[in-house]
């Protein structure tokens, strides 16, 4: 089954969201990404027990940092879905792109372009 999702999303695969680091998320924002989200397994269904829960906390940390800087924390998000939910994956992708469209381009991008 191939489901389409918005083309302006760049997917980075990791074996488990537990591997996602605060720094990965921050670096993406720093490099001008308008939004970043982590799609992990359903809570309670992590193959490595708590990788997705850890990821959620890291996402929360980054949201806090962005808030402190004055950037919309909604640009970073954590989603949970199972690997069998292809449709849900596409739906999340659309949800996130809609959200980012509404927020507009990242202030980081704008400013560095202007500079």
């Amino acid at each position: 089954m191939r489901l389409s999702y918005p083309a302006d999303i760049k997917i980075i695969q990791v074996p488990c969201t537990g591997r996602v680091d605060i720094l990965h998320l921050l670096n993406a924002v720093e490099d001008g990404a308008d939004g970043v989200y982590v799609a992990g397994c359903l809570e309670g269904e992590c193959h490595y027990i708590s990788g997705n829960l850890k990821a959620r906390k890291k996402v929360a940390y980054v949201k806090k940092t962005l808030t402190e800087i004055g950037i919309e924390p909604e640009r970073v998000e954590m989603f949970n879905l199972s690997s069998a939910q292809g449709a849900r994956f596409a739906e999340i992708a659309r949800e996130m792109t809609d959200r980012i469209r509404q927020l507009g381009p990242s202030p980081i991008k704008k400013k560095s372009h202007a500079a």
Partner: protein
């Protein structure tokens, strides 16, 4: 170990608001163990600062280094060749680090990026608690191995005070009343007698009150003291 908390991003940004090129210095000692000033935290701080400054259209150039220990002149000397390349440096070591740095490199400004809080340890992943106040004359064996100097909000030698309630200290409900724990431990082990009588008045001469302290191990000192 020495435990510290990162200063807020805003506070650190304000310290170097007029700087364009800075160095962030981590430490592989205690602050790495308490996840506040090791390589990872240094990288996170650098990335966060860069994002914040980019947002303002005022990019900042940040280099990072993590020293083996910032409380040791031998390692502090390691940045001799580069330290002059920056307008300022932020240290994520405990309060000792930026002082050793400032003492060695008189022309550079070192900002403390963390608030050094206490001597303690991790009671669970992500939570550290105070255990010792460095009073300079340890007597915890008299208190069931629990330190009332550091852990009682009033440093009582003869507690618990009248505010102790259900094992919790009067200062706030998340703080254990260490005297409750001391008394219970003594009662459970049938050694209540240890708490009969008044514990004598303490000399604070050995603590910070006696002035800045110095430890000398003569057998190790080379040359004159």
């Amino acid at each position: 170990m020495i435990v510290a908390d990162r200063k807020s991003l805003q506070e650190i940004l304000a310290m170097v608001a007029d700087k364009k090129k800075i160095l962030i210095l981590g430490c592989k000692g205690c602050v790495t163990v308490c996840n506040v000033g090791g390589l990872k935290e240094v990288e996170i701080l650098a990335a966060s600062m860069k994002i914040a400054r980019k947002k303002e259209g005022n990019d900042i150039d940040i280099d990072i280094q993590v020293l083996e220990r910032q409380c040791d002149t031998e390692y502090v000397a390691g940045i001799r060749d580069v330290v002059g390349n920056y307008e300022a440096a932020v240290s994520l070591a405990c309060g000792v680090g930026p002082q050793f740095l400032s003492e060695m490199y008189k022309d550079q400004t070192f900002y403390p990026g963390v608030n050094t809080t206490f001597f303690g340890g991790a009671v669970q992943h992500g939570i550290w608690e105070e255990r010792c106040a460095g009073c300079g004359s340890c007597a915890i064996h008299n208190f069931g191995g629990l330190c009332p100097i550091a852990r009682c909000a009033k440093s009582l030698m003869n507690g618990p005070c009248g505010g102790s309630s259900k094992g919790v200290c009067e200062v706030n409900k998340d703080t254990l009343c260490i005297w409750d724990a001391i008394v219970k431990k003594k009662m459970e082990s049938g050694r209540l007698d240890d708490l009969i009588g008044v514990k004598p008045i303490k000399s604070w001469k050995t603590a910070r009150d006696g002035g800045p302290r110095r430890s000398i191990r003569e057998e190790l000192v080379q040359g004159n003291i």
